[in-house]
Symmetry: none
Subunit: 215 residues, 4 copies
C-alpha cells in the first residue's frame, strides 16, 4: 500500500518533471528559432503539446519561464565545459581545453546561442537585478575557472605576472567574440581555424616567451 502510494506520488513527480522539462525544451526551441520575442505562451505551449493555460501550472509567468530556460542553458553549458577539462593537465592545456569546449558547445547549439548573443536584455540591470544576478552566476563561475588556470600558470612562472581576474574576463570575451563573429556570418572559416587563431592571440597575451603551436 505504502509502495503504491509512493509510486503514485512518484508518478506525479515524474510527470511534473517531465512537463517542466518539456516546457523548457520547447522554450529553448522557440528561442533558437526566433529569439526571445518569438517566445509566446501560445507557441511554447503548442510546441510542448499543451494549452496556454497549462504552462501556468509549471511557471508563474512568461518571465520566469524564459529565465528558467536560459538559466538551464547556461548551467548545462558550464557543466559540459567543465566535464571536458582534464584536471591533471597543466594550466595552459586546461585553458585550451576549456576554451575549445566552450566554442565547440556553442557551435553545437548555434541557433540558440546566436539568439542569446543577439539579445542580451536579460542581463539588463533590472530593478533589484535579481534576474541578471542569477544569470551572472554562471558566467562568474566560468571566469573563475579560467582565472584558476591563469593563477596556476603565473605561480609556476609559465605565464607572465598579470591581473588574472581581468585577463580571465578578456579571454572569455575573446571566446564569445569568436563565436559571435561566426554566428553573424562574419567568419567563413571552419570553427577549428577560428579556435586556433584565437588561441594564438591568447598565447601571446599570457605566455612568457614560448611561441604558440597548435595543439
Amino acid at each position: 500500500m505504502i509502495q503504491s502510494s509512493a509510486k503514485n506520488s512518484g508518478r506525479k513527480a515524474v510527470l511534473n518533471t517531465y512537463r517542466t522539462r518539456s516546457l523548457l525544451e520547447a522554450t529553448r526551441k522557440v528561442i533558437a528559432d526566433g529569439g526571445f520575442d518569438a517566445v509566446t505562451m501560445e507557441r511554447v505551449s503548442a510546441e510542448a503539446g499543451l494549452t496556454k493555460g497549462a504552462v501556468y501550472l509549471y511557471f508563474p509567468n512568461k518571465e520566469q519561464l524564459i529565465l528558467a530556460a536560459v538559466e538551464e542553458i547556461f548551467s548545462e553549458m558550464v557543466e559540459r565545459i567543465e566535464a571536458q577539462v582534464d584536471a591533471d593537465a597543466g594550466p595552459w592545456e586546461r585553458l585550451v581545453q576549456t576554451l575549445r569546449a566552450e566554442l565547440t558547445i556553442m557551435e553545437e547549439q548555434r541557433d540558440l546561442i546566436r539568439a542569446l548573443l543577439l539579445d542580451r536584455r536579460l542581463f539588463r540591470d533590472s530593478p533589484g537585478g535579481h534576474q541578471a544576478r542569477r544569470l551572472f552566476k554562471y558566467r562568474d563561475r566560468h571566469e573563475e575557472r579560467l582565472k584558476h588556470c591563469l593563477d596556476e600558470g603565473v605561480k609556476k612562472k609559465i605565464f607572465r605576472t598579470m591581473d588574472t581576474s581581468q585577463a580571465a574576463f578578456y579571454i572569455n570575451e575573446m571566446a564569445v567574440s569568436t563565436a559571435w563573429r561566426r554566428m553573424i556570418g562574419r567568419s567563413a572559416q571552419p570553427l577549428e581555424r577560428d579556435i586556433e587563431q584565437m588561441l594564438a592571440f591568447i598565447h601571446l597575451l599570457i605566455h612568457k616567451r614560448a611561441r604558440y603551436t597548435a595543439g
Copy 2:
C-alpha cells in the same frame, strides 16, 4: 512661378531634412531611454513634435526608422573617433587614441550604447542581410583603421608579425567588452582605469618587447 516653385522645393527640402533629423533624434532619445522595445511610433512622433501618421511620410515603417537612427549613431561615432586621432602620430599612439576615443564616446552616450549592446538584434543575418550589412559597414571601417595602425607597426617592426585583420577584430572586441562590462554594472572603476588596463593587455598582445607604460 518657377522661382516660387524652386523656392518651395528648396523650403520643402529643408523642411524634409529637418523633420527627418528630428525624427532620428527622437528615436535615439527613445532608444536610450528604454531600449528598442520602447520605440513606438507614438512615442517617437510625440518626441519629435509630430503625429504618428506623419512618421510614415519620412520613413516607410518602423524598422527603417530604427535602422536609420542606429546607422546615424554608428556613422557619427566612427567620425568622431577618427576626428580625435592625430594622423601624424606613430602606430601605437594612434591605436591608443582610437581606442580611448571609442570608449570615451561610448561613455558619453552611456544609455544609448547600453541599449545597443543589450539588444543586437539588428545584426541578425536577416533574409538578404541588407540590414545587417548596412550596419557592418561602420564596424568594418573602424576595424580597417585599427588594422592600418597594426600594419604600419608591423612594417616598422614595432609590432610583432601577426594576422592584423584578426587582431583588429579582437582589439575592437576588447574595447566593446570593456564598455559592456561597465554598462551592466560589472566594473566599479573609473573609465580611465578600465582603459589603462585594457591597453596594457593589448600592448602585450602586439608589441614586440617594450613593457607598456600608461600614456
Copy 3:
C-alpha cells in the same frame, strides 16, 4: 480660411465629444443590462459601433471608462433632481419635491439604478480612495440640499430641533431603500404609494406636530 480651420478643429472636437458620449452611453446600457461585470471592452465598443482598440482613444482603461459613466449618471441625477425643485417653496415642500424627484428619476432608469444598487463596489475605500471620493461628491451635494431644507425648517420652527446632518443622511437612505425595495421586487405597489408612505414616515420624523397629509 481661419473659419475653415476653426471649423475643422471644431469638427474634430465634435467628433471626439460624440464618441465619448457614445461610449458613455454604451457603457450605461451595458451596466443596466448586466451589471458591472458585463462591462467588457468588447461589449461596450460593439454597442458604440467601434472596435475594442478604439475605446482606448477615449479612455485610458476600463476602470476610468466605468468611473466616468457612473459619475455622469450621478451628476445627471443630481442636476435633474435640483431642476425639479421650486426654490421659492417652503422647506417641507422642497423636501417632498426633492425626494419625489429622486425616486421618480430612479424609477425612470430602473435597470441602471438597480445595477448600481446591487453592486456598490465602486464605493469601496480603495487605496487612496480617489475613486470613491469622486463619487461621494454627488451624494454629499444631494444630502447638503436636504440638510438645507431641514435647517430652514428648524429655523422657522416648523421642524423639530435635530442633528440635521444625520437626519439628511437617514432621509436620503430612506429614499434609496424605497427604491431598492422596488428594484429587487419586494414592493408590488405603484411608485406613488411607496413615495406617500415614505413621506408619511419622514413627516413623523421631523415635523413638530401637524399630521402628514399627502401632497
Copy 4:
C-alpha cells in the same frame, strides 16, 4: 458488516459535515478578505485544506458554494441577534436590544459585512429568483421580529398607529444604513454613538410623545 457499514456511513456523514463546514468557513474568510470577486475555487479550497476538485464533491458549483456561505452568515446573524433579546422586556426595549445586537454583530465581522454591503448582487432577481428568495428568508424573519415589537407597542398604545410592516422595513434599513456608513469610512464616531443617534431618530418615528433618552 452492517454495523461496520453503519459506522462507515456515520463516519462518512461526519466527515462530510466537517468538510462542508470547513469549506463554508473558508469561503467566508475569503469573502471577508477580498469580496466576492476574490472567491476562486482555488483560494477557497486551499484555505480549507483541500484541492480544487474536491470542492465539487460538496457543492455543485461556485455559485452554490457562495450562496450557502452567505446563507449561513445570515442565518447565524439572525440567531445571534435573537439570542440577545430579552423576551420579557417591553416592546421598545426589545426593539432597542434587537438593533443594538444587529449593529454590534455587524461591527464584529466588519470585513465580512462590508463585502456583503458593497456587493449585493446575490439579491438580484435572478431567473426564477430562487437564490434571492433563499436569502430574503432571513431578512424577512428579522423584519418580522421588528414588526412584532411594533405591533405590541401599538397595541399597548405606547407607539403611534402605523403601518408596522413598512416601519419595520425602514427601521431595519436605518440600521443597515448606519452600518454601511461606518463601513465605507463615512462615520468617525464610535459605534455606540452611531447607535444612540439612530435610536433617537427611530424613537421620534414611532413613539407617541416621550422624548428619547439613551438606554
